[in-house]
């Protein structure tokens, strides 16, 4: 093992570019998953029967099948029906829609841990169910969900590495190319691992700060 003999001048920009793609991919996918996840949760908890069945079915389907398979279906399967995505967009869709299922589960758990009395009190003031959800239920649920959601963000960041299998030029992809070119798998992959680790640590730290800020004074939150 010798890190010094590698050509860092060319490797470093490639790894940096890969890292940026990984960050973009993760950020967009987790946001997509957030929006879809919230809609799934609300549909599941407050929707009529067909909507409830759809939302449950969605969560079961995406949690019950491998992420890589979902990526392959989006990237290799859909073109048969004329739906073509670039590797980057396909990866966003696959990761985001997959994450939505997990996020929906976290949101559901958070909402269900809120006392029924909160909704009753909101309705008794004359709020519609929708208003009560927006002003009372979601603001509390989002605070409760932060620790679980932090995990999901970190998972998504790491799982985004499977996007290299459909040719997305993210960090893993960059590492693989560099390693194969220089025939130095061990060193290069260690560096890649180190980059993932650093990013995860930074994100974790940031999320803990948010968690502290969002804490409701006096309230013991179970997390």
């Amino acid at each position: 093992m010798n890190f010094l003999t590698l050509d860092w001048k060319t490797i470093f920009p490639q790894l940096l570019k890969g890292t940026l793609t990984t960050l973009q991919l993760t950020a967009i996918a987790i946001s997509l998953g957030f929006v879809v996840g919230i809609l799934l949760t609300l549909g599941w908890l407050y929707g009529n029967k067909p909507i409830r069945i759809f939302c449950r079915g969605y969560v079961d389907l995406f949690r019950g099948t491998p992420l890589l398979l979902q990526l392959f279906i989006v990237y290799y399967g859909l073109p048969r029906y004329g739906i073509r995505f670039s590797p980057f967009v396909a990866a966003i869709l696959g990761l985001g829609l997959n994450s939505a299922a997990y996020q929906a589960e976290y949101f559901r758990g958070a909402i269900q841990s809120i006392s029924q009395g909160q909704m009753l009190a909101a309705r008794s003031l004359g709020m519609s169910e929708f208003k009560a959800i927006i002003h009372i239920i979601l603001p509390q649920a989002l605070r409760i969900v932060i620790p679980a959601w932090s995990n999901e963000l970190i998972y998504t960041l790491k799982y985004s590495s499977v996007a290299y299998m459909i040719g997305t030029t993210e960090l893993m992809f960059a590492g693989k190319i560099i390693a194969a070119k220089n025939f130095r798998f061990f060193e290069v992959f260690l560096v890649v691992a180190f980059i993932y680790l650093i990013v995860v640590l930074i994100i974790s730290h940031f999320l803990r700060m948010i968690e502290k800020r969002a804490k409701i004074p006096g309230l013991q939150m179970i997390s």
Partner: protein, 256 residues
């Protein structure tokens, strides 16, 4: 149409409700005049809370009608969110919004439901908080308050909607004994100010000193109703007498 009777604010007629075919309320009828306070008592599990929740349709009755000031609450054509604005409800476990300060708890109804400008709502909220003696806690969160303070804040939250009628669902049952008094004082002041109230409570001291009528409910029916002194001194039914003496023994006569 509602039968016209002067000064009647709330009229309940032939109200029935079952859960899983188990009748909880059976043919309940009563009326409340403007400014009156009625206290509903009865053994636990006897449908008192269900009755109260039917009045603002948090629970839907199976049959019967409820009229509030000429509007049929039970009609499916009635905009229930509109009606609820004029029926305040105070809960046993307060149900203050956990993520909001006391001020925001009181303000959220006026701003989000009634669309009153924030400045005006703040003034209104502070006014209501001063009525329950909590202005100094306006910036606190519910979890930082004692039970008695939380309940007073929840009364202020209800008052800020300027309700015609207030419902109290065992407002002091979740409180430590030494905190009950402060809530009862606020409630008594409300009675004096002319608020119309329906109270489910076993605070006999409160019932005897301020309410106009006690309604004794057992197994989903009204067994007896009348002015407190009449029920205490000359109950018509054996069950009323038994229950009142049991309750008095348990809670004491004069507290509150």
């Amino acid at each position: 149409m509602e039968p016209i009777e002067k000064n009647v604010l709330l009229r309940v007629r032939h109200l029935s409700k079952s859960y899983n075919k188990e009748p909880v309320l059976k043919d309940i009828s009563f009326k409340v005049k403007k400014g009156e306070t009625k206290v509903i008592i009865g053994p636990s599990g006897t449908g008192k809370s269900t009755l109260l929740r039917c009045l603002n349709r948090l629970t839907r009755p199976d049959s019967g009608q409820i009229w509030l000031d000429g509007v049929e609450v039970t009609s499916s054509k009635t905009n229930i969110n509109k009606i609820r604005q004029s029926i305040g409800m105070v809960f046993q476990d307060f149900n203050l919004f956990a993520h909001l300060t006391v001020l925001d708890n009181v303000r959220i109804g006026p701003t989000r439901v009634k669309k009153i400008p924030k400045r005006e709502a703040t003034e209104l909220a502070l006014d209501m908080l001063s009525r329950v003696g909590l202005v100094d806690k306006a910036g606190a969160y519910p979890a930082e308050l004692s039970g008695g303070q939380q309940q007073r804040a929840s009364i202020a939250r209800t008052l800020a909607m300027r309700p015609k009628l207030m419902l109290f669902d065992e407002p002091t049952s979740a409180l430590d004994p030494e905190l009950i008094g402060e809530v009862l004082i606020v409630m008594k002041n409300l009675v004096k100010s002319g608020m119309t109230m329906v109270v489910v409570s076993h605070e006999m001291g409160f019932a005897r000193s301020v309410c106009d009528e006690i309604i004794f409910v057992e197994k989903g029916v009204i067994v007896e109703q009348g002015p407190p002194d009449e029920l205490f001194l000359r109950p018509k039914h054996r069950r009323t007498k038994e229950f009142l003496s049991k309750i008095t023994e348990l809670y004491g006569k004069s507290e509150g």
